[in-house]
């Protein structure tokens, strides 16, 4: 109590200021959330009511837009969202699991094994993190093209499963795990894989969640790479399909709004479930922007 008084001088004025700040913050938070509220409402409105509509919902509630993007779209030659949803989910999940496995093994190796070139490799991973994506856009496309993988799931998965960022985080975390723990398993004749899956991963749940969350989200929201690596409509993830609706289907606003909901809703749910690892991940910083 005494500490709080010190902080704000007079506790009475302090209290007033605090409530004032809370009101301002509440207003701003609503302003920040408003676009979501608007798009949710718009996705249930009649097409003609969406344009220029005011701040509040209007009467006739319709599910037509959802029906259209999930079902009828294919009849008029558009990619249906159901398939795109699966594509997004499939690609993002595979990449996330692979990044954790590959990154975990590599991080463990760098943190707990001695071999020639270990120092060099650790520096190499830090070096990798310095360079922006743009530098790799053209040559990675060409590598994939030379492997005859354009227009496949593999093209949208393989280039993203080796994440230097993930290796680095695992490496740093594993370094903190005492060697005695590992040695005791080794003496009991436990294999390296047992150490990794029974000790390292379970102990590193917080960092694994952070890595998984950011990787999954990054893949789910990806757009540029997907338009470069895949042109086949059946394989398109949701971002590409939605962008296609926006560009070539400009008039059908309701469908776009429903698409936005399908694209953002799952990630928002994930974000709310894992909000703590998420905020911890950001404050740890060194994360990609």
């Amino acid at each position: 109590m005494g500490k709080q008084k010190m902080k704000l001088g007079h506790s009475q004025t302090g209290k007033v200021i605090r409530y004032l700040l809370l009101c301002v913050l509440l207003f701003l938070a609503l302003l920040w959330l408003y676009p979501y509220i608007w798009v949710t409402i718009a996705s249930f409105k009649n097409e003609t009511d969406i344009t220029g509509s005011g701040l509040l919902p209007t009467k006739p509630v319709t599910l037509d837009h959802y029906k259209f993007i999930l079902k009828t779209a294919s009849e008029v030659g558009r990619t249906p969202f159901g398939r795109a949803f699966f594509n997004s989910f499939f690609i993002s999940s595979v990449v996330t699991v692979a990044v954790i496995l590959i990154g975990g093994l590599a991080g463990y190796s760098l943190a707990k094994h001695e071999f020639i070139g270990r120092k060099f490799l650790t520096n190499f991973i830090i070096f990798q993190m310095l360079f922006p994506t743009i530098l790799f856009l053209v040559p990675v496309f060409l590598v994939i093209k030379n492997m005859h993988l354009i227009d496949t799931y593999t093209a949208m998965i393989l280039p993203f499963v080796a994440s230097a960022w993930a290796v680095f985080l695992f490496y740093q975390f594993f370094k903190g795990i005492p060697n005695d723990l590992i040695e005791s398993v080794r003496i009991d004749g436990g294999s390296e894989l047992l150490i990794i899956f029974r000790i390292m991963f379970p102990l590193s749940k917080p960092i694994t969640t952070i890595i998984g969350m950011f990787i999954f989200m990054g893949r789910w929201d990806e757009y540029l790479w997907y338009i470069i690596l895949n042109k086949k409509t059946a394989l398109m993830p949701m971002t590409t399909v939605l962008a296609g609706y926006m560009k070539t289907y400009g008039e059908n606003l309701g469908a776009q709004m429903a698409g936005v909901i399908l694209l953002t809703f799952p990630i928002i749910v994930l974000f709310i479930i894992f909000r703590n690892s998420f905020t911890r991940g950001i404050t740890m910083s060194g994360l990609k922007g």
Binding site: V39, G54, L137, L142, T239, M257
Partner: protein, 294 residues
């Protein structure tokens, strides 16, 4: 104690370590090392990705620097930075400070402001192109004061409009970094300032802001990376227009490589873009970064 155990790192088979890191290394060689080297070779070539490549020396770079679009893209990038960085930094610092001072429901606010960050660039491009459209909600609202702003169709403000909506997206992320920075400042420093008779504003600018140096540097580096590499929003909302007003470097790289099929030119552009980004980060490190002593 057994000798094997007491060693700092276990000496167990040097091969095992290599085996464990092998998947990462193989993938890195294919999708990082080879592309990395190739991009510099490509930049010196003229190649349409079909017929054999031709070595052309530095002519791709000369072409870029003598192209009007280079200066247009540079101007657009700086217009973006000019709006995005001051607005984004000031707003996120203000909000972090308010959340810190309000001492209540801080995680609720932090989460609310972070929500837009998890939204896909495509999704919020769709939302905002509607909200800020000629007949969108914002302009319907502005009609009340007899105003109609052509956010995305006036070449003078299109890039700034995009900057504003990126601020909306990213602000919570930066605010969280500032918030963590604020929490790390020891209370004793504020107490000392209070005893020395410093006013609230003085304390803020002479104590809080300098103590947040590390947060400022982190955020500025992130913000520069984002600004120089902006793509999805101008690509989807304005398609680089009107009159090239939102033509950016990544947009240019994409068009050159994947629509005009000039892989060499595209690679050179990517290198120029990365160089601009590195240059600006260097400037920040040099002029903003300080050692903060407790």
């Amino acid at each position: 104690m057994n000798k094997v155990i007491s060693g700092k790192k276990s000496k167990i088979g040097s091969k095992v370590g290599l085996v464990l890191i092998a998947p990462y290394l193989v993938l890195s060689i294919v999708f990082w090392c080879i592309p990395f080297v190739w991009s510099f070779i490509l930049a010196l070539q003229k190649w349409n990705m079909m017929s054999p490549a031709k070595f052309v020396g530095l002519s791709n770079f000369i072409k870029i620097f003598s192209d009007k679009l280079f200066y247009i893209s540079l101007r657009n990038t700086f217009q973006f930075i000019g709006v995005f960085i001051p607005l984004g930094v000031a707003l996120s610092l203000l909000i972090a400070w308010m959340i810190y001072k309000a001492q209540r429901a801080s995680s609720f606010f932090l989460i609310s402001f972070l929500l837009p960050y998890v939204t896909s660039g495509v999704a919020y491009a769709v939302i905002f192109s509607r909200l800020f459209a000629h007949d969108g909600v914002v302009n319907v609202f502005l009609r009340g004061i007899n105003l109609n702003i052509p956010f995305f169709t006036d070449p003078r403000i299109a890039m700034s409009s995009i900057a504003v909506l990126v601020v909306w997206k990213i602000m919570g992320y930066y605010a969280l970094i500032f918030y963590a920075g604020l929490q790390a400042i020891p209370q004793s420093i504020y107490d000392a300032a209070l005893i020395d008779g410093a006013s609230g504003t003085q304390t803020f600018f002479k104590v809080t802001v300098p103590m947040l140096n590390a947060s400022f540097v982190t955020i500025l580096i992130f913000a520069i990376g984002l600004s120089v590499n902006i793509f999805t929003e101008p690509f989807l909302i304005t398609e680089g227009g009107p009159f090239f007003a939102t033509h950016t470097f990544v947009f240019w790289t994409y068009k050159t490589t994947f629509e005009l099929f000039k892989a060499g030119q595209g690679s050179a552009l990517a290198i120029v873009t990365a160089a601009i980004s590195f240059g600006l980060v260097f400037v920040v490190r040099k002029f903003v970064e300080r050692e903060v002593q407790l």
